[in-house]
Symmetry: C2
Subunit: 271 residues, 2 copies
């Protein structure tokens, strides 16, 4: 991720790496099925993190050449290791900050960015920086979540409270956990053409056990990851926290349901 | 709709008829594309209202025979008129209450129900009543909204307040405007087999003007329809109301976005 190590709300632990990998594989089809780059195209992946999306991207477009960048050397090492382990050869890695990309103008045919903007204090500036790297007519693709989309049964105000803790902490760190709904204006404000946004909803009930597991391992795990910070900052007392987390797990029981919406957006640099 | 005339939160005015017709045509493809009944099948549509879904259903399955029922004679007259005007001949109408359907057991091959359960004090009982009318192996289809799914930019707590007024009023009248997320447990609790729920998300931004218009004419119009009741019941003061409605319209401007999720569910009566 393109955030300084201390400003990435989810941390960079091994459990977090596992969570990100799990997330990427479960959601791969839903989020990636309509992203394919032609052979010979030069693609920049910004904020590849531990490579969770990189392996999917590179496999789906085996003839394209990827340059995947991240600000964290530690994450890049994991990404490199993973890509090597999977025998993927069309990716090179480079350490870089989204605001200071070390490439010349018009270097890439396409840019791909997943789960980055939510962590940035100035997402619009980052879009402008990325646009410079893109050749005229080239495409840019963003995928972001929006925690305001979490909808579940049984509903619970304590569950919403613990989700709001993450939203609050992310905002304090300069990010925005509700950014999915903002992709439209960010991309049009940055001057991209042919902007198209499509929401992708993940829905879990007992008939879809893999999504129920995903909901536990991805969403609830992510919320649980900010427990100490949330309590330390007095955003919530520990009793409400435990109740909220319990209520989230309650939605994964037999009669429960859970929905979450991701937003995918594409645009072109004007010719 | 299968609600006594005084318990239907949206009322039965001409503007409301127009709203329901507009809603049905805009959302037809998204909600109906995967509902087709084979020639010769006997289909019961429960709570046809003014016939907004009826014409779509009947056209999509021209060989099926529909019986469409509603509790309101006034709505049925409008539905009959509309169906006749469109030259549709495979629908007969009958006045009936969902809790006391005037048919023998196992009469129908399929049942279709749209935007009814949200208005019922005992949706589970209604499912059991409908199941009796269905032959073993026959299918039932439900479509419901969930106002908790409304997500928009710019976000606004006043806009959420006015939406919550409708949720509150509907609950006071015995209904549940957050029922979409409950289709899974209602159908499994009623004993339907092979239950499958799929959310359908409507997303509006400036690049999709027909959805922005739909959002104004369907969703905001629906909220505006309970203004007097909400203020009379002191759920909100008039200043907050006006601000909330203004903020909802604000999401239909150039940089705004709006999402709403419908839930469609199908199941079978056990053989």
């Amino acid at each position: 991720m393109n955030c300084p190590p201390n400003s990435y709300v989810h941390g960079r632990s091994d459990r977090e790496t596992e969570r990100l990998n799990y997330q990427a594989s479960k959601l791969a089809e839903m989020l990636h099925h309509d992203t394919r780059y032609p052979p010979g195209s030069r693609v920049l992946e910004v904020a590849c993190g531990v490579g969770a999306q990189t392996t999917i991207l590179a496999r789906n477009s085996p003839g394209a050449d990827f340059v995947s960048v991240d600000i964290s050397r530690e994450s890049l090492l994991k990404a490199k290791h993973r890509v090597a382990e999977e025998g993927i050869t069309n990716v090179t890695f480079r350490q870089a900050d989204v605001y200071h990309l070390p490439f010349g103008p018009d270097t890439f045919d396409h840019i791909f960015v997943c789960f980055l903007l939510e962590h940035l204090p100035d997402p619009l500036l980052s879009l402008k920086c990325m646009m410079e790297m893109l050749r005229p007519g080239g495409t840019i693709t963003f995928i972001e979540g929006d925690h305001g989309s979490a909808l579940f049964f049984p509903d619970s105000s304590d569950a919403h409270t613990v989700i709001d803790c993450l939203v609050h902490l992310q905002r304090e760190m300069g990010g925005n956990a509700l950014i999915g709904r903002e992709l439209w204006h960010l991309m049009t404000d940055a001057g991209f053409a042919k902007v198209a946004v499509s929401p992708r909803i993940v829905y879990a009930d007992e008939s879809r056990p893999e999504y129920v597991e995903g909901m536990k391992n991805i969403f609830i795990a992510m919320i649980e990851g900010v427990r100490e910070q949330a309590i330390a900052r007095c955003l919530v007392d520990s009793e409400t926290w435990e109740k909220g987390i319990r209520d989230l797990y309650r939605t994964t029981e037999q009669d429960g349901t859970f929905c979450y919406t991701f937003f995918k957006a594409t645009g072109n640099k004007e010719l």
